[in-house]
Symmetry: C2
Subunit: 446 residues, 2 copies
């Protein structure tokens, strides 16, 4: 279902930049200890490991209602509440809005122009709005929810609440209270599920059902991946290996960038989802690598030059696809023109696969460490598997680093300044601080 | 039109991670020397500096034809041939395909599934195909062109050539020859214009006209920006300052990641365009910083944690927008619910601006260097200015690093392996090398 090839991480293959088996084996005991922590669910946030066993009856029922009733599905959420759903949408139903209904809009910002454009193309009387916020107090989501609530009341009057589905904490928080006060439909996000580990909860699964993807397939792929990554022996566990190899490459602080480059347009947003998962989970206490979202072959014409000849600061992880689910033979046209006729008669899938393998080798020959995740195809089953794989790998790496991979204390300060600027009570001093800083900055402007 | 505020790069503001005026002034002589190289056009590739003075008559005429004749505009290109056009599309006509015709499709990969989806939603008899390749030998673009040529012949027969516009070298190369042999319409990419510096050539401008954007406005903004960045005095030249500050922050190799975070959804692809420009131009001879594409406020819920508490390896450049061109007042609904009512009565634009400023300050208070580019609005004029600004800054930084910012020698090796795999004559040994490597890798797989 998934293989990890790490030959190009090894000293024997790429030379001195690589590592040897001994170094990897040195992590075995620690890995086994972390494994016990994970399978023992010793932290409440490890609840994400149990999502694959979830019952999706309610989600399928709601998804069916949306498919029947609505022309549009507007998702309000930010961070994990949007990136997971978007990864599912782009991977499993590309060009969705030109091909299928309900059309899907994901508003994961507070850019007024984006909202203007969305509202200009959707008829709210035929739109289901899915508000996603675990706490219910995320400023961006609260703001867009308040605007949509008002607009929806203008559009459908007293029935407004029927147009909303709130995905939130099962018991507490603003959004749960509002949903309950007004009688909105709701779906729960389990107590221990953090935003970035929530894609296999109703956060991602409702969208899946809305676009006609069987949520059970996503979970089945995730469940099988959980089994695939259940070995306590490091060298047999691909998720732990991915984490360990990146950890070791970063150990001296030298390689601080890890690129994820799937060779498929549909997985571009899987890269972005992964980048949030990895950044917020591991970027703390001065630790963490910067995950870089990429896509092949496109970025061979954008980033590859830097990876090949820039500083020795990266590890590149390829995602290789066996079957694209479509193909074209490049026809023998322009035969008289030298230079492109070598392509004649070849298949497009051959070209993309050749480019992927060529990039691996070109990097390896220069001694740049890289590894390859290989999957049979891009479908609900294997996408569910990838989500689970990266979540396990990320949590594992956080525990290996000795940090808490489930919190994000670093974003509080910025929030407090925003509260101050927006006039929230108790944050007046923060507002003054911003205004003072603004004055101090004026003289450094050109 | 554009200001650069670099207070949060300075020691006086952020403490020891910042720099002092003396260090910056130390680059003055070198900057003046590079300035003379640029204004003297001492390298042929500096031709991009002259694009703002271009005559767009032909482009406007062709754009008008496409708007009148076509329901769809399909662009085939990769790297600079796609990223610039896409940046224009997303910035100046978001949600374009749901709102306007001709609909625009940019195929910048060889993913067969993407092509299948595009061809499933466009009627080729009503589609103009714009093939963009300076050399005409780019494998990805050649492959998709050959397929489209064949499909178009099936769709419209002998008139196929009329459906294509080739944007390519004015005189040489495969694409020029094919276009001339078959009588296609063409637009020239000037001799000295490299792919990543080509957005203000017909590469980007034709797409602009097709979506109803006046190409002259893009060029006017670029021309005014060229004037704005014409000061030989470093401290008065925002493009040179951006480059110098990033250069200095990277000088000891410590800060090797530079994030670009515009606070506007429409500029997400400007970030991606910039990342190609910067990566390919500067990533060589072991030098270069990794440019990171980001977007606010969204990535505050994805990357900010890492920037705040991760390793000290980044410089963050914000893009602040004065006027979004739309706005909403957050209505006073849910007043009884504690926690979100501070937002009531505030405008959405206030919130996004408050978050931008808050993130700057939160980073600065932790001593993380950052700077801010501020523009009045997102329109053709200011977008043209941003393109020119970043191109000047990038070329300047390359010359400061003592490397050639206009070549990309590092991508050749990968291309050669691909040629081998695809059976191109003369590359048989490369194919064998790939096959050998494949065998060697097999034992490192789990």
């Amino acid at each position: 279902m998934l293989t990890l090839n790490f030959a190009n991480m090894m000293e024997k293959v790429i030379g001195p930049n690589g590592m040897n088996e001994k170094t990897i084996e040195g992590l075995s005991l620690k890995a086994a200890e972390i494994h016990r922590e994970i399978i023992g669910r010793r932290r409440p946030e490890l609840e994400f490991m149990d999502l694959p066993g979830g019952d999706t009856t309610d989600i399928r029922k709601l998804g069916g209602e949306v498919r029947q009733e609505s022309e549009n599905f507007l998702l309000l959420g930010i961070g994990g509440s949007a990136l997971g759903p978007r990864a599912i949408l782009e991977a499993l139903s590309p060009y969705h809005n030109l091909r299928k209904t309900p059309r899907v809009f994901i508003y994961d910002n507070v850019d007024p122009l984006t909202l203007r454009h969305i509202l200009s193309v959707v008829d709210l009387t035929k739109t289901t709005v899915n508000v996603i916020s675990k706490s219910g107090s995320t400023a961006e989501t609260a703001a867009s929810f308040m605007i949509l609530w008002d607009e929806m009341k203008k559009a459908v009057g007293a029935d407004a609440a029927k147009m909303f589905i709130a995905t939130t904490d099962p018991a507490s928080g603003n959004l749960r209270k509002i949903a309950s006060d007004f009688g909105m439909r709701t779906l729960p996000i389990g107590k221990g599920i953090g935003g970035r580990y929530s894609v296999l909860s109703p956060v991602g699964l409702l969208l899946a059902e809305v676009i006609g993807v069987d949520s059970r397939e996503l979970l089945k792929g995730a469940a099988d991946m959980r089994l695939r990554c259940a070995a306590d022996e490091l060298l047999k566990n691909p998720a732990y290996m991915l984490g360990s190899l990146l950890y070791l490459m970063n150990a001296d602080g030298k390689r601080n960038v890890n690129v994820l480059i799937p060779y498929a347009d549909g997985l571009k947003f899987l890269s972005e989802w992964f980048c949030q998962l990895w950044s917020e989970s591991l970027g703390k206490e001065g630790k963490g690598m910067t995950p870089y979202p990429s896509v092949g072959t496109t970025d061979q014409h954008s980033q590859l030059q830097l990876w090949m000849e820039g500083p020795e600061d990266k590890v590149v992880t390829f995602i290789r696809i066996d079957e694209y689910g479509a193909d074209y033979t490049i026809p023998g046209v322009f035969e008289e023109v030298e230079g492109t006729n070598y392509l004649s008669g070849r298949r497009l899938s051959e070209l993309i696969k050749a480019e992927e393998e060529s990039s691996e080798l070109a990097l390896a020959k220069r001694g740049h460490p890289n590894m390859t995740i290989q999957i049979p195809s891009i479908d609900a089953y294997h996408l569910g598997g990838l989500f689970q794989f990266f979540e396990i790998a990320t949590a594992f790496t956080g525990l290996l680093l000795g940090i808490n991979p489930f919190n994000q204390p670093g974003v509080e300060e910025g929030k407090n300044f925003t509260y101050g600027m927006m006039g929230k009570k108790g944050f007046e001093a923060k507002r003054e601080e911003v205004e003072k800083a603004r004055e101090d900055k004026a003289c450094w402007q050109i």
